[in-house]
């Protein structure tokens, strides 16, 4: 094991100018920033754990929430997130290669690897934007009860999820969105769902092949499906139709799940975005030959540390949001 004392001569120990940790000021500050940022992220992830343990029996199952892959139809849980993880690890690798090439003062190689890193980061941010859009848009639609719980629908014969459009009736009712030009008292109205509550309830009563699935997780680790009678009884609690997810309503289940999803992946996505911006700045500096003139590529190493940290955080977000 290495020792902490690095000086060759006794006199210079207290004379200043020596580096007991053998790291430059900038690099050490980057490390300290990373430590504090790691604590911020742990705060978020642990509070996610807190809410989840609090509602352990009703928490949404991530496999059933993130099932989409761009350009493909069907049910593919996890694949796309795994792809995103791979992209981020890959861009981490090109970053280390850039740092390595920098140590050997090979400007052309650093340029190439930095470029690939930026591309990887851009693909990741784009994928995350797509994930958000899909999550916000929603899948099947659901009903929210007076207690704020979510009721989803399944086909009785196949056990597959049923979309609202599969069974809802179209009733001859006019649903007008409230706008500012009408009425003295104006309250902003959110989004308009494709079916009114009444249409869903009537449609449900008319289709015996549809059952309600509650948020409660049973012993098999799956969501509980009610019988037809229980379903009809439960439906009297319905208060509104929910399609997609936002900070207040969430068709996938507990609204806290959506809140944490937006907050944690959003904060991480912001880190990736700023990482890409910093990488671009450094990329142009390399092209201009700044570090060639400076005589070392330590700047690349420092942004590299930040970039790897973003990757590191994603590894944890991936586990606690999508896997566990």
């Amino acid at each position: 094991m290495d020792t902490t004392v690095t000086t060759g001569s006794e006199e210079s120990v207290w004379g200043g100018g020596n580096q007991p940790l053998n790291a430059s000021y900038g690099k050490m500050m980057m490390w300290f920033f990373i430590v504090s940022d790691a604590l911020t992220f742990s705060g978020f992830l642990v509070s996610y754990g807190f809410s989840r343990f609090k509602f352990i029996e009703t928490w949404p199952i991530a496999d059933e929430v993130f099932t989409h892959v761009p350009f493909f139809h069907g049910n593919y849980p996890m694949y796309y997130v795994a792809f995103m993880t791979f992209i981020l690890i890959m861009s981490s690798v090109t970053m280390v290669l850039a740092v390595d090439a920098g140590h050997r003062m090979m400007q052309k190689k650093v340029i190439l690897y930095m470029f690939l890193t930026i591309i990887g980061g851009a693909i990741f941010v784009g994928s995350q934007a797509w994930e958000w859009a899909t999550f916000i848009k929603g899948d099947y639609g659901a009903i929210e009860t007076k207690g704020g719980r979510i009721l989803q629908f399944v086909h009785a014969d196949s056990g597959k999820r049923a979309a609202l459009a599969d069974f809802s009736k179209t009733l001859p009712e006019e649903r007008v969105k409230h706008v500012k030009s009408e009425g003295v008292w104006y309250m902003e109205e959110g989004y308009k769902t494709s079916f009114s509550l009444n249409e869903v309830v009537e449609g449900f009563k008319a289709s015996p092949g549809i059952l309600i699935r509650t948020e409660t997780i049973n012993e098999e680790g799956e969501k509980t499906v009610l019988s037809r009678e229980e379903s009809l009884a439960k439906l009297t609690d319905a208060s509104q139709v929910v399609e997609g997810a936002n900070l207040i309503h969430n068709e996938y289940g507990s609204r806290l799940f959506a809140d944490f999803f937006f907050f944690i992946t959003g904060f991480h996505g912001f880190h990736v975005f700023s990482g890409v911006v910093i990488n671009i700045i450094i990329f142009f500096n390399i092209i201009l030959g700044t570090y060639e003139r400076r005589g070392h590529y330590e700047m690349v190493e420092k942004v590299g540390l930040y970039w790897h940290f973003v990757d590191l955080v994603w590894v944890f977000v991936f586990t606690f949001f999508y896997l566990v």
Partner: protein
């Protein structure tokens, strides 16, 4: 600045010829670990989901352990902590680990307590 790299991983079991080679080696390892995680997440073998250890499914323990393994190799080889002085490494690694363990312990215990209050404490939260 010195740029010597320690080129061994798995406690010297695998030794690479150059730093570049080590980077690719670590990538392959991380990819395999991620593939195992995703595979288990999709397959969900009953043996692992039915058995519990300290209140958590074995499957989830495996996920968390594999995540820590991945984190170790990212920090040690990509962030080249392996090549830093041990004093710097310890300051950076053990401080957050201690604080995070403390945070996890406190918050998860509290959450579990609230769960029991909701469940058994005659408090209605689903009206």
């Amino acid at each position: 600045m010195a740029h010597e790299h320690k080129l061994e991983i798995f406690r010297g079991l695998l030794k690479f010829k150059s730093n570049t080679q080590k980077i690719w080696g670590v990538l392959i390892f991380l990819t395999i670990v991620t593939a195992i995680e995703v595979g288990l997440g999709i397959a969900k073998p009953e043996l692992l989901t039915k058995n519990y250890f300290i209140g958590m499914k074995l499957l989830n323990w495996i996920f968390i352990i594999l995540t820590l393994v991945k984190a170790y190799y990212i920090a040690w080889d990509f962030m080249h902590l392996r090549d830093e002085k041990s004093s710097l490494r310890r300051a950076i690694v053990w401080t957050p680990i201690f604080l995070i363990c403390y945070l996890i312990f406190i918050l998860l215990f509290e959450a579990d307590y609230i769960y029991t209050v909701f469940k058994e404490g005659y408090k209605a939260w689903d009206f």
